[in-house]
């Protein structure tokens, strides 16, 4: 079949990563086609996350990206994209209720400090000063004042909107069947519908679906999916602006500009999904939202009367070692990978987008992402 669609870069996946890379590439004058399997832009984890823009709690291998993004990109993002992404840089509290929790938090804090992040342990009194609504069960927390949150749905669509304005071509409802090497270089993307797209580079940023797509050229990223769920409350009067997490991982989230609280969590029974990520729009489990509610009320008793108006679920593509796989695949020229974000891709998405666009156009990045390369996985002995 004749190639009917050519661009400098073909991007597989119109999530926030695909949209951000498309934005930064078109800004540099490159032509881009973005292929999306579902009907909606940002249908996967991009729209289904708690909105955290954090550095604290991150693995040192991805921390530089997170710090770079928060310093250089997030503050001006709304202006740059022309849409209010509701970014707030008002800190992240990771809460602990037991000595064991504090130990966990202490460990995370030490590691992040070593990488130069402004994060520290605080006691119950200081926690209450920062967020007076928390219950007395909280005995301490880690505190990173430069962390924050944003609106993931709007941010994803804002990148899409601007990339589209700059000429990026987005095609939805076009699932990819396989990748194809031509004369030693990955050049073609063949879709289920029989269309062929050709580019000098192909970026695969399709969440868990990346695994199957990459498999068509013999590349495998060791990852699995987990279902996470979120709930959204009715709009409430403003209470606090920090991003929240807990050492016990019973919930995470924030209050949005709209006034609603967006809290994510799990029931603990998600590991063995019935549908293994097969569905476009994953369903909730009946027991999860109640469990998240119980978790939240332990920390915020006064939210007991807040009404839940909506719950939703999303898959997270969890990498074997908990950090994403980013960059070139050395033995397949032309292939760029960005997947397995392991549930914390949103906050680093602008930085990933900018750095991958740089990698594609200049062959190098300004932030060190070598720890996230594809070839890092090895047997344990």
């Amino acid at each position: 079949m004749a190639v009917k669609n050519k661009a400098d870069v073909i991007i597989v996946g119109a999530g926030i990563i695909g949209c951000a890379v498309a934005y930064y590439l078109t800004k540099k004058g490159k032509s881009v086609i973005v292929l999306e399997a579902s009907d909606n832009i940002g249908n996967g984890g991009s729209s289904r996350n708690g909105g955290g823009v954090r550095q604290s709690g991150r693995d040192p291998r991805e921390l530089p990206l997170a710090m770079y993004g928060i310093e250089k990109l997030w503050p001006g993002l709304s202006d740059e994209l022309g849409v209010d992404c509701e970014y707030h840089k008002e800190g992240n509290l990771r809460l602990g209720k037991t000595e064991k929790h504090l130990e966990i938090l202490q460990g995370l804090t030490e590691r992040a400090k070593a990488c130069g992040l402004d994060v520290r342990m605080i006691d119950a009194k200081e926690v209450k000063q920062i967020n007076p609504h928390l219950s007395d069960e909280v005995i301490g927390a880690s505190w990173c004042p430069t962390d924050g949150h944003a609106n993931p749905m709007v941010t994803t669509l804002a990148f899409y909107r601007k990339a589209r304005m700059q000429g990026a071509r987005f095609i939805t409802g076009e699932p990819v069947k396989r990748l194809r090497k031509v004369k030693g270089r990955l050049r073609e993307v063949l879709t289920e519908s029989g269309d062929v797209y050709e580019g000098d580079f192909v970026l695969v940023a399709a969440g868990y679906a990346s695994r199957k797509i990459l498999g068509t050229v013999g590349v495998d990223v060791p990852m699995h999916v987990e279902l996470m769920e979120c709930l959204v409350t009715e709009a409430e009067p403003p209470m606090f602006n920090q991003m929240l997490g807990t050492a016990e991982a019973d919930f995470y989230g924030h209050q949005s500009d709209h006034g609603s609280f967006v809290f994510g969590g799990s029931s603990g029974l998600e590991l063995n999904n019935k549908d293994e990520g097969a569905k476009n729009s994953p369903g909730n489990a009946a027991i999860t939202a109640p469990c998240i509610c119980r978790g939240i009320m332990k920390y915020f008793p006064e939210l007991a009367d807040a009404k839940i108006v909506r719950t939703w679920a999303g898959y997270i593509d969890i990498c074997q070692d908990g950090v994403p796989v980013l960059g070139f695949v050395d033995d397949i020229p032309g292939l760029v990978v960005a997947c397995a974000f392991s549930g914390h891709g949103f906050g680093i998405a602008p930085a990933v987008g900018e750095q991958l666009a740089m990698l594609i156009t200049e062959g190098k990045t300004s932030v060190d992402i070598s720890g996230l390369r594809y070839g890092r996985f090895q047997a344990k002995i």
Binding site: E234, A235, E236, P237, G259
Partner: protein, 104 residues
């Protein structure tokens, strides 16, 4: 005034005993168990809330708990759907303004 005394098909409406409640501090009477919205309507109250963005008045719209336009602050709790919440003796009903009680 807005109550139907006797209906040609349904006869006399079956209502609960008379109870007293307050609306924005003003004492009013209604029938126990009828939706708060009905008691307010019987007392001539049209505005249940003002919207958050535009501060526009809203009142009863669907009357069956779906549209959520009739929400008010009831006994201190916001966003209470008054069209399906039964009236009780001594209830404190307040006009909702955005996400708080009016004047709060």
């Amino acid at each position: 005034m807005n109550r139907i005394e006797e209906h040609p098909i349904l006869g006399e409406p079956q209502k609960g005993r008379e109870v007293t409640f307050t609306f924005d501090g003003k004492e009013m009477k209604g029938c126990e168990g009828e939706p708060i919205a009905m008691a307010l309507k019987a007392n001539g109250v049209m505005i249940h809330r003002y919207t958050k963005k535009e501060h526009k008045p809203r009142g009863i719209f669907c009357a069956i708990g779906r549209c959520t336009d009739c929400v008010m602050v009831v006994n201190g709790k916001l966003n209470v759907r008054t069209c399906i919440t039964p009236l009780e003796e001594g209830m404190v009903v307040q006009t909702q303004d955005g996400v708080t009680a009016k004047g709060a």
